[in-house]
């Protein structure tokens, strides 16, 4: 499990206040372990880490493919 500290947003809503940690949208699932003031500690479960790594791998593959396409015409010129 990966843990990290993130800022907290307090959102007024219909007489209530929602305390919501501001987490990078690339994190698909997380648990909130603790909130202290304007900071929260979150935990990212392993299955979510796997999904993030797969997404990162796909992005890297796409980037490599784009770079290869850009390099090829120059190499064959």
């Amino acid at each position: 499990m990966a843990r990290m500290k993130v800022p907290v947003q307090r959102i007024p809503r219909d007489g209530e206040v929602l305390v919501v940690p501001q987490v990078d949208p690339s994190i698909p699932e997380f648990y909130v372990l603790n909130v202290e003031g304007d900071e929260a500690e979150i935990e990212v479960p392993e299955r979510a880490q796997i999904e993030m790594l797969r997404n990162e791998l796909e992005n890297l593959k796409r980037r490599v493919s784009e770079l290869e396409k850009a390099v090829m015409p120059r190499a064959t010129a």
């Binding site: 929602l18 919501v20 648990y31």
Partner: protein
């Protein structure tokens, strides 16, 4: 009365401090269901919990009292989905007020779906006073998904499921809570 968590396959692991009076940390490697019971793995010990033995079993759903399925002790039942195109958190279909703050182990099974091109943000919020609601768990899905979540013992009086769509407008997210179980620890 506080529940005692009995390991399913390892009977000498009763000292795992899930029900300790003071907060302790432990690693949860998986949460799902088996034979109508919650099933989760904590530090290589497999635990089963009966949803009908939850302290929240049979309680009123304060989000919508006619929706009884989140507290019926049956992990297979879900009602009609609720929808939103709001990009802000809104109440979903399940919430329970335990009347007094205590430490609870919480288990949740919820299904979500969303319009293609958007994501459904689903979250479980807890409160000690029914005014300030703190996010305890959240997930984001861009497709049909069923989530199982285990919230380590946390002090609260009430919990509720909320959700939002990532884009809004003509994009909608839906969700339906199968079960929400609170066990006093």
């Amino acid at each position: 009365m506080p529940v005692r968590l009995m390991p399913a396959t390892i009977i000498d692991r009763e000292h795992i401090p899930l029900w300790s009076a003071k907060p302790v940390d432990f690693a949860v490697s998986s949460t799902n269901e088996s034979g109508g019971m919650w099933r989760f793995v904590v530090e290589n010990g497999v635990y089963n919990l009966d949803p009908t033995k939850a302290d929240s079993y049979g309680k009123t759903n304060f989000i919508n009292p006619s929706r009884t399925y989140p507290f019926d002790g049956n992990l297979a039942t879900a009602g009609s989905e609720v929808y939103t195109n709001s990009t802000s958190w809104v109440d979903a279909d399940a919430g329970v007020d335990m009347s007094t703050p205590n430490r609870y182990l919480i288990l949740l099974k919820v299904g979500v779906s969303t319009t293609s091109g958007s994501a459904c943000n689903i979250g479980l919020f807890g409160s000690e006073d029914m005014v300030t609601w703190t996010l305890l768990w959240s997930a984001s899905s861009s497709s049909l998904a069923t989530y199982y979540a285990l919230i380590k013992p946390v002090r609260c009086r009430a919990v509720k499921v909320m959700f939002a769509n990532s884009r809004g407008g003509s994009y909608y997210s839906s969700c339906s809570t199968y079960e929400l179980s609170l066990y006093k620890v």
